[in-house]
């Protein structure tokens, strides 16, 4: 296939959007640079402003302040119908009263393209999305997955400058979701249309996006490629949010001789490297917390869950402190086994206990400072 690639960079410059007299802005001074041809995932908890960002990009909601640029063009005041964007909405992605063919053709009809060109484009997208045989049905006469593929076909058919998708796969089951996610990634590689993809599923975001923008309470918390986001999250909240398994956040205090004490002394850790702040929150992902059998330990296994080739353990002290560790299933430990947790320092993170911001601390090296 030879798509007519139209790659446009998008810039969002200090955009603020407030609905009516709401006390809190739905978008609070958002700055975002979307690169030409990039697949950007917008991730965040409910009410974070993801859909609002999408609607603002589409021109469906006016902004209170700030500018929007598509390439060199300032589109802030251009209405939706003239922005050349395509949107796959969370619900109702096709016209309920039209056949799939007419739904897909609708935008092209509005552009008054010649009939042969419309026919050619429909054949093209229907082929990619494998819906040729369904084109004369109404949306309620096809399955959820087929509807989804048709919606994507509808979005692609108009060769938009910007493709916006608002949780497009939320209505289909987990397995289909995974499959469509992969298909979307493939399609994006072929097409190269600048795409913004909203989801609240971190796994979905991290797996297919070139970069992930995390939004919370109307603010952009961090924009980075998935690996950076995973390795160097800007805050403890973010580290937890992008983590598939529960994230261990351990408040620790300095002891004499550089050791760190946690949970009232139940756990004493000895990080390599130099001086550390007096107090910090130690962030350790479950896969970076090693547990070994140890009769003298204050920790015992509370629960274990077998998750495809790995085992997730929740360990606890008598005081009720909990940690989560994941290890391979070579040896499965039983509940109540006493275990000693050890931190994989190369991957440990440090956070400011008050603000939650990540501290620039590397435990395996000599160390930086705190304010």
């Amino acid at each position: 296939m030879e798509p007519e690639v139209l790659q446009v960079g998008i810039s969002v410059e200090s955009v603020t959007k407030r609905y009516g007299k709401a006390p809190r802005a739905a978008l609070d001074d958002v700055d975002l640079e979307i690169r030409p041809g990039e697949l950007l995932a917008v991730l965040g908890p409910s009410g974070g402003g993801k859909s609002t960002l999408l609607n603002v990009l589409a021109g469906l909601e006016p902004v209170n302040s700030g500018r929007l640029r598509f390439g060199d063009e300032d589109v802030t005041d251009i209405p939706a119908e003239r922005r050349n964007v395509a949107v796959v909405f969370q619900s109702s992605m096709l016209y309920p009263h039209l056949s799939l063919r007419k739904s897909i053709a609708f935008a092209l009809t509005m552009q008054k393209l010649p009939a042969e060109e419309i026919q050619r484009r429909i054949d093209e997208v229907a082929g990619w999305q494998r819906i040729d045989h369904l084109l004369d049905r109404k949306p309620h006469e096809v399955s959820g997955g087929e509807r989804q593929r048709s919606a994507v076909a509808k979005a692609l058919v108009s060769h938009p400058a910007l493709l916006l998708m608002d949780e497009p796969f939320s209505a289909v089951d987990a397995q289909l979701r995974r499959q469509m996610r992969t298909e979307l990634a493939k399609l994006h590689r072929q097409f190269g249309t600048t795409t913004v993809f909203v989801t609240h599923d971190q796994e979905e975001a991290m797996s297919i996006a070139d970069r992930v923008a995390v939004m919370r309470a109307g603010k952009l918390v961090q924009v980075a490629d998935p690996l950076t986001l995973y390795r160097r999250p800007a805050s403890a909240w973010l580290a937890d949010f992008v983590s598939v398994q529960p994230f261990n956040l351990i408040p620790v205090e300095h002891q004499d001789g550089g050791a760190l004490s946690a949970f009232g002394g139940s756990l004493v850790l000895k990080p390599p490297g130099g001086p550390l702040p007096q107090r910090l929150d130690l962030g350790v992902r479950p896969e970076h917390l090693r547990i070994t059998r140890s009769e003298s330990s204050a920790f015992r296994i509370l629960t274990r869950e077998i998750i495809g080739g790995q085992v997730k353990y929740t360990i606890t002290t008598d005081r009720g402190d909990e940690l989560v560790a994941v290890r391979s299933d070579d040896e499965v430990l039983d509940a109540d086994t006493p275990v000693d947790p050890a931190v994989d320092w190369a991957h440990a993170l440090a956070f400011d206990p008050d603000s939650g911001d990540r501290l620039d601390v590397r435990f395996n090296e000599v160390v930086a400072s705190v304010s």
Partner: protein, 284 residues
């Protein structure tokens, strides 16, 4: 299973309740007065005839024993009433739709302050019995010269149909998928075009139902018609029938007039029933 049987029985009772009087009237309209008035009371005419209809529509038809009978004296009144009713109902339907559809659409889809209060106020006007508003209307109409005119009746009927349609329409439009217009917008429609090209076609069944309801409401309306237009050339069918009923003691003639008056709304409802059946009336 048992519930299903119960529902069917209830539906059957409702059906009998509504249909039997109509069937009865139709049967009476097919009898000669002589047969109807005879001591032998029966339901089905022994000597069925269309003579009552022919005479009402201005023709001559012999009586049961062959005696010649001329046209029914009330024929012109009834025919004029039917014609006036049809004109009034069509105008009421068209104008009410023009007013109520955009209003209902705005109330259901556009973010606005006092939406609920506005809707409630509109619905509340429905709880005022028409009799209560007739006196102010009458005074106003006298002054404006609208009394005894079809225009006046159309306006009066719209005070009933518009709130009714706004109310029904708000729930119809509220049932459309939430992102419909947004989708139309990104597909290149202006706000107005999104309404005309997408919302209207997507809700054509509901809008047909609204129009039928407006037509039937106007056709059946009695109070305003009686007070403003009785005895004038603009008299509609219901008061015409009522005066015939009070002045003529021939039930078979009245029955045939009644049946004539039933035909237009039945026709309208029948013609559009395949649309109306697709409408979800839940929540009304």
């Amino acid at each position: 299973m048992r519930r299903k049987v119960l529902i069917h029985i209830l539906a059957l009772i409702a059906l009998i309740w509504t249909v039997v009087p109509i069937v009865w009237i139709v049967l009476i309209s097919l009898m000669y007065h002589h047969e109807f008035a005879s001591a032998d009371i029966h339901l089905f005419p022994h000597q069925p005839t269309l003579a009552n209809y022919v005479r009402l529509l201005g023709g001559a038809a012999p009586d049961w024993n062959g005696t010649a009978q001329g046209p029914n004296a009330y024929g012109p009144l009834i025919r004029e009433g039917l014609l006036n009713s049809a004109q009034v109902a069509v105008w009421v339907t068209v104008l009410s739709m023009i007013v109520a559809v955009p209003a209902a659409y705005a109330l259901s889809r556009v973010q606005m302050r006092f939406r609920q209060a506005g809707l409630l106020t509109i619905v509340a006007t429905r709880s005022i019995p028409p009799v209560a508003t007739t006196i102010p209307f009458f005074a106003l109409y006298q002054g404006l010269g609208l009394s005894g005119t079809k225009t006046g009746l159309v306006i009066a009927h719209m005070t009933i149909t518009v709130p009714l349609l706004v109310w029904i329409g708000t729930s119809f439009f509220g049932g459309l998928p939430p992102g419909l217009e947004r989708m139309a917008r990104v597909d290149g429609c202006s706000r107005w075009r999104a309404f005309a090209r997408v919302v209207v076609p997507a809700s054509r069944h509901s809008m047909t139902a609204m129009a039928v309801i407006a037509f039937i409401t106007s056709w059946d309306e009695f109070t305003f018609a009686l007070i403003f237009n009785t005895g004038t050339p603009a008299q509609t069918f219901p008061p015409a029938l009522s005066s015939m009923f009070f002045q003529v003691s021939v039930p078979t003639d009245v029955a045939s007039a009644t049946v004539l008056g039933l035909i237009p709304p039945l026709l309208v409802a029948g013609l559009f029933q395949r649309y109306i059946r697709k409408v979800n009336l839940v929540g009304l």
